[in-house]
């Protein structure tokens, strides 16, 4: 029986666990192997995820599970995303959706954000969680590689209202060699679809001499989808199989991105401490409307939010925002 949650469309059954090893076929049904088991359940600043244009200043509960449908050579979460999920279950937190929502409230969280690994590998649990979150008035967002099938992309759209999609590279060669998938075509298709369904930001980790030549092409694609899409270009700190790789040169990448801001204004360059490129500038008049501080993978934070509602205080132009500014200690806020 085929699993249709992602574009691998694995044939499950006869003991085959599929690429992500998170589903089994039982009695003609595709079932999660480890439902309601979370590798992460941590309060975090929403800017740390990163979301720069969704619920600024708010506190989210970052959750994740195990397993992944990608095999990124530089994975920074390989200790949970690349391991056999069965081998890491003894470290997991087991909470049913109502229990998880209760913990989110106790931790003063305004939203729930799926991070760490890929939501497609845990969709049934997330569908149930979404029902509880909606009842509690908690928005849900996620990081996703968007390698979902068209049908499960629609499901993602029912679970989450804000997305940060990893677009790692465009060429087939890069995707084969570094990510382990044949092509980025499904990802591009799903960026368009999810941008129509909800709020989308996109993240691209830069690997020197591998995908740094594609930055302009990626930017043109995003501008074609929606010129106001926030784009996070990450200075990749190589981990896992690429631990010995060179750190990408900051000045060279920053120079390349400067030209792109002419047609894609919300371009950010971070994932290193003290980045100069984490503030939001008004696309109309250039005024700084949101200031942030980057702590690299220690998490970014809001420093000041100067918009009036979702408008530039200088020229009145609308600034792309999903939700409003939320005080850090507001606790749960109905959207």
């Amino acid at each position: 029986m085929r699993c249709n949650f992602c574009e691998w469309r694995c044939e499950l059954g006869n003991g085959s666990p599929g690429v992500c090893r998170m589903y089994v076929e039982e009695g003609g049904v595709i079932r999660e192997r480890f439902p309601y088991r979370w590798s992460s359940c941590i309060p975090s600043r929403v800017e740390s995820v990163p979301f720069y244009h969704a619920w600024p200043g708010s506190r989210c509960l970052v959750i994740g599970t195990a397993g992944c449908n990608f095999r990124c050579r530089y994975c920074s979460n390989s200790f949970v995303a690349k391991q056999d999920p069965a081998m890491v279950q003894d470290g997991m937190i087991e909470l049913t959706p109502p229990q998880l929502i209760r913990k989110a409230k106790q931790l003063g969280c305004h939203s729930i954000v799926f991070n760490v690994n890929e939501p497609a590998v845990s969709l049934p649990s997330l569908l149930e969680l979404a029902v509880e979150a909606r009842a509690a008035g908690m928005p849900m967002g996620c990081l996703t590689n968007a390698y979902t099938t068209e049908e499960s992309t629609e499901l993602l759209g029912t679970v989450f209202s804000f997305f940060n999609i990893g677009l790692k590279g465009l060429s087939d060669a890069f995707n084969r060699d570094y990510i382990g998938i044949p092509s980025a075509e499904p990802v591009l298709r799903n960026i368009r679809r999810l941008a129509a369904l909800g709020h989308v930001e996109v993240t691209t980790p830069v690997i020197e001499s591998a995908n740094d030549g594609e930055l302009e092409e990626i930017a043109r694609f995003l501008a074609d989808v929606d010129p106001e899409i926030p784009w996070h270009v990450f200075r990749l700190l190589p981990e896992d199989e690429m631990k010995e790789a060179r750190y990408p040169n900051i000045d060279a990448i920053a120079g390349a991105l400067e030209k792109i801001r002419g047609y894609l204004p919300h371009v950010y360059f971070h994932n290193f401490v003290g980045s100069d490129w984490v503030n939001t500038l008004c696309p109309g008049c250039g005024a700084t409307v949101i200031e942030r501080f980057s702590l690299g993978c220690g998490g970014d934070r809001l420093r000041s939010f100067d918009c009036r509602g979702n408008e530039c205080p200088s020229c009145g132009r609308k600034i792309r925002l999903h939700g409003e500014k939320v005080p850090w200690n507001a606790g749960e806020v109905l959207p």
Partner: protein, 379 residues
């Protein structure tokens, strides 16, 4: 104003440590420190060269600043021991390599060492799952033995009391009274401190996911190797160092994850807590060592650190620290001091040295290094 210099490899920026505002002016002292950072990129918490980086960076800083007090932390074996499967001989090899590094530092620098172990490590036995209580249980990232319970129900307390893996459940007032009068605000202290039996660790929401292999061993006493004098308690080491400084240059060297049985140097026994409470490696132990007073309640285990993390929080580069601790060992000295180590923000916060260089790593992710210059007016 304290200055922070970030080096993220081929990228350096200077900030006001308190506000996080950028600083443009670079003077010769900053330039000297920035050059060391550029020359000495941090290899990573688990990397073989993690402890060598401490020695090399400290020797460079001594050459550039000529201090009389050096505070060092060697922590690689603590990180590796915590997360890696090691045979007994691999562990022994790692312990001997940290001693070689300490010996290399002492031989090259000529400083008189005062060496403290923060307590040994034992195999991890099991988690105590406290994630599904009515109340909220929080622990602190590197802690195993302690967790704090907030808003616990009667059912929670009954259930916890029945768990054989829990050694004791301590109400806030009882915990406070163990250390006499605490003048500060006690609202940070959880209503109950949960204490695990050796080898166990609390599984809490808010904890980081990594497979744990070793946890801190019971450490009612920690080893102190010092030829220059005697100290019977962790609160007495500061006095010993300050007195010794009158006659010679001193290196206070903290070796993480090693206890009484691991020390190859002749050593004394130092009390590491009070009554049933002993310090695990972390900020409370560091601050107790550097202030000479018990510091259990400043950032107590299991407090809701995240409630204080609002956008206006000061010291954005210093983790949960909300201020520079007062009256630490180096902060009031007339002589020059430096600190170097791979224990992140503890290096610029706990000893209060004039200049410190630390790894900027979070949850083992290596971001580079950070130097902090607290003062530059000493002759």
């Amino acid at each position: 104003m304290s200055l922070a210099i970030i080096d993220a490899r081929e990228w350096q920026r200077v900030f006001d440590l308190r506000t996080g505002a950028g600083v443009e002016e670079i003077n010769p002292l900053l330039k000297m420190v920035m050059d060391i950072q550029a020359r000495r990129p941090y290899p990573g918490d688990l990397d073989d060269a993690g402890n060598r980086w401490v020695t090399d960076t400290a020797l460079d800083l001594i050459a550039g600043y000529d201090p009389s007090l050096v505070y060092l932390t060697y922590a690689r074996q603590f990180f590796v021991g915590r997360y890696s499967v090691l045979t007994e001989s691999e562990w022994a090899g790692m312990v001997s390599s940290v001693f070689e590094e300490v010996n290399r530092f002492v031989a090259r620098s000529g400083f008189t060492p005062v060496i403290v172990g923060t307590g040994g490590m034992i195999p991890f036995v099991d988690f105590i799952d406290v994630t599904r209580l009515d109340g909220l249980v929080l622990s602190t990232h590197w802690s195993a033995r302690y967790a704090g319970l907030h808003d616990g129900s009667r059912r929670d307390l009954q259930g916890l009391a029945a768990l054989p893996e829990i050694e004791r459940i301590v109400p806030r007032h009882e915990f406070r009274s163990l250390f006499g009068e605490y003048p500060g605000d006690d609202s940070r202290i959880p209503e109950y401190l949960l204490v695990a039996r050796p080898g166990h660790m609390f599984r809490t929401v808010g904890g980081a996911f990594r497979k744990v292999r070793r946890v801190p061993a019971p450490a009612y006493a920690i080893p102190l190797a010092a030829e220059s004098g005697v100290a019977s308690s962790i609160t007495d080491i500061r006095r010993l160092v300050v007195e010794s400084l009158r006659e010679r240059k001193i290196a206070l060297i903290v070796v993480e994850g090693l206890g009484m049985d691991d020390f190859p140097w002749p050593h004394q026994r130092c009390e590491n807590g009070r009554g049933w409470f002993y310090y695990e490696p972390g900020d409370a132990q560091y601050l107790t060592l550097t202030t000479g007073r018990h510091q259990v309640f400043e950032y107590p285990t299991g407090y809701k650190y995240f409630d204080e993390d609002a956008e206006k929080k000061e010291y954005p580069l210093s983790g949960y620290f909300t201020s520079v601790p007062a009256d630490t060992i180096a902060s009031g000295l007339g002589v020059r001091s430096v600190a170097v180590g791979n224990r992140s923000m503890l290096m610029h916060m706990a000893p209060g040295a004039d200049i410190s260089i630390e790894c900027f790593a979070r949850n083992l992710f290596n971001q580079g290094t950070m130097a902090v210059i607290h003062r530059m007016d000493k002759k």
